[in-house]
């Protein structure tokens, strides 16, 4: 598999150096492995720190900036960050009002963020953790590690970030993040596997006429394999799963995110968004806010995820608030 890399072992550090060069408004600590706002900490402001494996760009480093995250910790590709870097980022942006850790629900991320939160507490920093688990392809049962955090992570980071920017308290910011997560559901398809720089070849083999159904964002196979069907049928199946997990009523207002996993053209993403709009219109559900593009990716995987979140007035107001990050930017 061809990639624009030098040495697989250096990919994350070199990409961080490039992020720093491209975005002088960010403070990128390449050795410490975190990205922070240049102006952090802001005294009295609740800080938001997220992180996870690399390979999901622009998540999370691309969402650092006014109106969203204060810092992000990229781990190795598809590997959660280690406690040291999460602690360093937490300390770098703590303005004395506490820090919210936004954690996608994966075993490694949960453990490393938990260890970091304990270390931060030892240093007198109060941390609240918001766990994101919106992927309805996984059953939430004792037989699994629980639902995965995927597309809704962006929504949580944006809406909680906007509230923190207004000066809300730690508990309020964390509660807003949890409310967004609870209101969101996602489902993803993969048309191809992705290739990590270290492995150098696709993570699984998929025949030309088959797709993986219910994939996450780490190149792992999905819940099952099916024959490729027309997009309108795939969208209906995905929305059936989403609406079964988080039912919507006629008149509900929603945010819909159609998110490319890395190698699916915007042409197809817009086509899918149109199909989603058709199905939700049939059900009388209003799409109040929308986003289409590559935001929570899985390296070079062809595929996409659909996220539907039921919005309150307050969520809409916070979604519309100004944001200025490399990956999301409006109102400023």
């Amino acid at each position: 598999m061809k990639k624009f890399i030098n040495d697989p072992a250096d990919v994350v550090a070199e990409a961080l150096a490039g992020l720093a060069a491209a975005h002088p408004e960010l403070r990128v600590d390449v050795a410490g492995r975190f990205v922070a706002r240049a102006a952090a900490p802001r005294p009295g402001k609740v800080a938001l720190v997220s992180g996870g494996g690399s390979g999901h760009e622009p998540l999370h480093g691309g969402f650092v900036g006014p109106g969203m995250l204060d810092a992000a910790c990229p781990g190795e590709v598809f590997t959660s960050p280690v406690p040291d870097q999460i602690l360093a980022a937490t300390k770098a942006v703590d303005g004395g009002a506490g820090v919210v850790h936004i954690v996608k629900n994966y075993t490694g991320d949960v453990m490393n963020f938990q260890l970091a939160a304990e270390l931060a507490a030892d240093e007198g920093i109060t941390v609240e953790t918001v766990l994101v688990d919106d992927d309805v392809a996984v059953e939430n049962s004792t037989w699994t590690a629980g639902r995965r955090g995927t597309g809704a992570t962006l929504l949580v980071e944006k809406i909680a970030g906007a509230l923190a920017e207004e000066g809300a308290k730690l508990g309020e910011v964390a509660a807003a993040g949890r409310e967004v997560n609870a209101a969101s559901a996602s489902f993803a398809y993969a048309l191809t596997a992705c290739t990590t720089p270290a492995a150098g070849r696709p993570g699984f083999d998929l025949p030309d006429d088959e797709i993986e159904v219910g994939v996450g964002i780490h190149g792992e196979p999905g819940r099952r394999r099916e024959k490729l069907r027309p997009a309108r049928e795939l969208v209906r199946s995905a929305l059936d799963a989403i609406l079964e997990a988080k039912p919507l009523n006629p008149g509900d207002r929603t945010l819909v995110l159609v998110n490319g996993l890395g190698a699916t053209p915007l042409l197809e993403q817009y086509l899918v968004f149109g199909e989603v709009a058709t199905v939700l219109a049939e059900r009388g559900v209003e799409i109040s806010r929308r986003l289409v593009g590559n935001y929570v990716t899985s390296l070079d995987m062809a595929g996409l995820s659909i996220t539907v979140a039921r919005l309150t007035d307050e969520m809409i107001r916070l979604w519309d608030a100004p944001v200025r990050t490399p990956g999301l930017r409006w109102g400023v």
Binding site: G75, E76, T79, P81, N112, W143, A145, A199, G216, E220
Partner: protein, 214 residues
């Protein structure tokens, strides 16, 4: 060689052997992980154990327990994912359970420390036997080690017995369905492959057997 104690030099030799073994088997661990996860278990563990070996260069700890505490802290700092905290916490717990300040540990101490390591992994990860995890190799290895020690075996024999049991435990994960970690997302599709975490645990016990072998 003293065959009824684990001293600092032997502990360091064990961790170096584990580093060499995990590094040599990186591709194998990658293949196993790619079948059910994202294929990075070998690379991540090799990076972590290489860092452990590096921290033990030069003037190291003088207490055997501190060797493992340092190894555990290094794994937590360098590996990431779930395996970093799990193996790191295991080695830290093993080190902390050994007699404080002692230059060597006898077999009863070592068995108790391994027990503390397994308990720490199970507490952090919440895994039960049969969930297709590290525990499925660690627990039989510990059982075999304790049984050998109770039967009067010396360290080489107890370590070899533990390594054999860990290997059997790892192989026995093939038909199991994962209930913890990323492989659990696959449901029944996770069955049919040997668990990479149980496999790396076997490599670590095999390393102890190798460095203590007469």
């Amino acid at each position: 060689m003293d065959t009824i104690h684990l001293d600092v030099a032997l502990a360091v030799a064990w961790l170096r052997a584990a580093a060499a073994s995990v590094t040599a088997e990186t591709d194998q661990l990658t293949r196993l992980d790619a079948a059910i996860g994202d294929g990075d278990h070998g690379v991540n563990l090799a990076r972590g154990f290489t860092a452990v070996a590096a921290t033990l260069d030069g003037a190291g700890p003088t207490a055997v327990g501190d060797v493992f505490v340092r190894a555990g802290a290094t794994l937590i700092s360098k590996v990431g994912g779930a395996s970093g905290p799990l193996y790191g916490t295991a080695f830290r717990a093993i080190g902390k359970a050994l007699p404080p300040g002692a230059a060597s540990a006898d077999l009863a101490d070592l068995a108790a420390a391994l027990h503390a390591g397994l308990d720490a992994v199970r507490k952090l990860g919440g895994a039960e036997p049969g969930d297709r995890t590290i525990v499925d190799a660690f627990r039989p290895a510990l059982d075999a080690f304790e049984e050998a020690v109770a039967g009067g075996a010396a360290l080489p024999e107890a370590a070899a017995s533990a390594a054999r049991a860990a290997g059997e435990g790892a192989r026995a994960t093939v038909p199991l369905t994962a209930r913890k970690g990323r492989a659990s997302y696959l449901g029944e599709r996770s069955a049919g492959h040997q668990d990479p975490g149980a496999t790396s645990t076997w490599l670590i016990f095999q390393a102890l057997a190798d460095v203590t072998a007469p």
